[in-house]
């Protein structure tokens, strides 16, 4: 049996990089796909709306753990060769993020009155100009608290990647705890790290929400 030491702290820090990397991948790919889904859900085309709605409902109906399993074990079977863990896990988090952000942003876009689109159209602006300059800034403001709230969920949920062997923060804690037999110390430390990352985000999201409710 060994004592919890500085090298364990370093190990946690390295694992934390994976936590952030997963969140970063999820955002980097999930944000554009989420935006596309939100636009499809609010578009004039019934086909696009139906496809996007079906996708969102389907994915939201699957637990994140199920998504991870599917991508980790299923994709190699489907494509017929090994897929790096980061890719499989990254894909699962990307689609998870895209679907939730897509739904949050759809709500934001729909909360902007139709007359705002019309005002832009009447001035001779294109659909894209109307969206970028008139609708998106208002929709984003409305959806920002929920978006930040989702970010907190995402960071906490990166811990699920441990089930397919990715050594992120939670899994690293588990390993150190097993080696040192100091679970209370180690898990308290891990929890404190999650808290330190998420608490400012949660507070920020609350502030944004309060400000939004105050205005208009």
């Amino acid at each position: 049996m060994r004592q919890f030491s500085f090298s364990d702290l370093l190990f946690l820090a390295t694992a934390l990089e994976w936590t952030f990397l997963m969140a970063a991948i999820a955002l980097a790919f999930g944000v554009p796909v989420g935006l596309a889904l939100a636009l499809a859900r609010t578009s004039g085309s019934a086909v696009l709306r139906t496809v996007a709605t079906a996708l969102i409902e389907l994915i939201q109906g699957i637990p994140l753990l199920g998504l991870l399993m599917f991508f980790y074990f299923g994709i190699p079977v489907l494509v017929g060769k090994d897929v790096p863990t980061v890719v499989a896990v990254g894909a699962a988090y990307t689609i998870y993020t895209a679907v939730f952000l897509g739904d949050i942003w759809r709500g934001g876009i729909q909360a902007v009155r139709q007359a705002q689109w019309e005002a832009g159209a009447c001035l001779g602006l294109s659909w894209l100009q109307q969206f970028v300059h008139i609708i998106a800034p208002q929709a984003f403001r409305i959806a920002l608290p929920a978006t930040v709230g989702f970010l907190v969920q995402l960071i906490k949920n990166t811990s699920l990647a441990s089930v397919v062997g990715l050594v992120e923060l939670a899994r690293a804690g588990q390993m150190i705890s097993a080696g040192t037999f100091q679970p209370l110390l180690v898990y308290t430390l891990v929890a404190a790290i999650y808290f330190t990352i998420c608490f400012p985000l949660t507070t920020w999201s609350r502030t944004l929400e309060a400000r939004l409710n105050g205005a208009r």
Binding site: A115, A119, A121, C122, L123, G124, S126, H133, I134, P137
Partner: protein, 243 residues
Amino acid sequence: MALVEIKNVRKNYGTLEVLKGVSLDVEKGEIVTIIGRSGSGKSTLLRCINALETINSGEILLEGQSVSAKMDGLRQMRQKVGIVFQAFNLFPHMTIEKNVTLAPILTGKTDKQGARKLALSVLERVGLADKLKAYPEQLSGGQQQRVAIARCLAMSPHLMLFDEVTSALDPELVGEVLKVMEEMAAQGMTMVLVTHEMNFARNVATKLVFMHQGRVWEQGDPKTLFANPQTPELKSFIGHHAG
């Protein structure tokens, strides 16, 4: 050639026929007011002119060009037609200056340097040159409506449409908006407006159109029609709205 030619236009929402063969010409420089009971199709007619609504039959020509939501140059057409609604529909997240200059900049009518000058000149016309940096929510309803007018003016429109632009305003704010519209009329702007302001219809308009049940029921010189309505419907309408 009239600036706007509306030829036998029919429009229905599902089974409800809202415009039942409307024909109307608007000459350059004319001030046409449309009056009529609620539900008679006034707003729909106005919205057909810049193709916000699709007509079912007939034709609308603007400067000789047939107007529809599918036309080539729909956006160019709309850049020539300003429209102001009862709800001002300003962009709440932008300053007044940005509200007024957004479309001119995006459509290439002005560059960023010229935009400030343009904003000042159109806001001056509506008496709000000091509000450049304000946001819409900081303005009164009358001021917001004047900004909405300025936003259209910044596009140098050939035609202005107004749909009951004073109806949502507190009575004491109506005058300032009407004054701006009178000045535009005096400067030769072609205007079509739906309004309940009978004094404006009588004294400023060059043509009065009375709509009833989706039809142009009567039209002509405002003073003549007010003094001498030909149909019992217009007579009763004027009776209700006089004074």
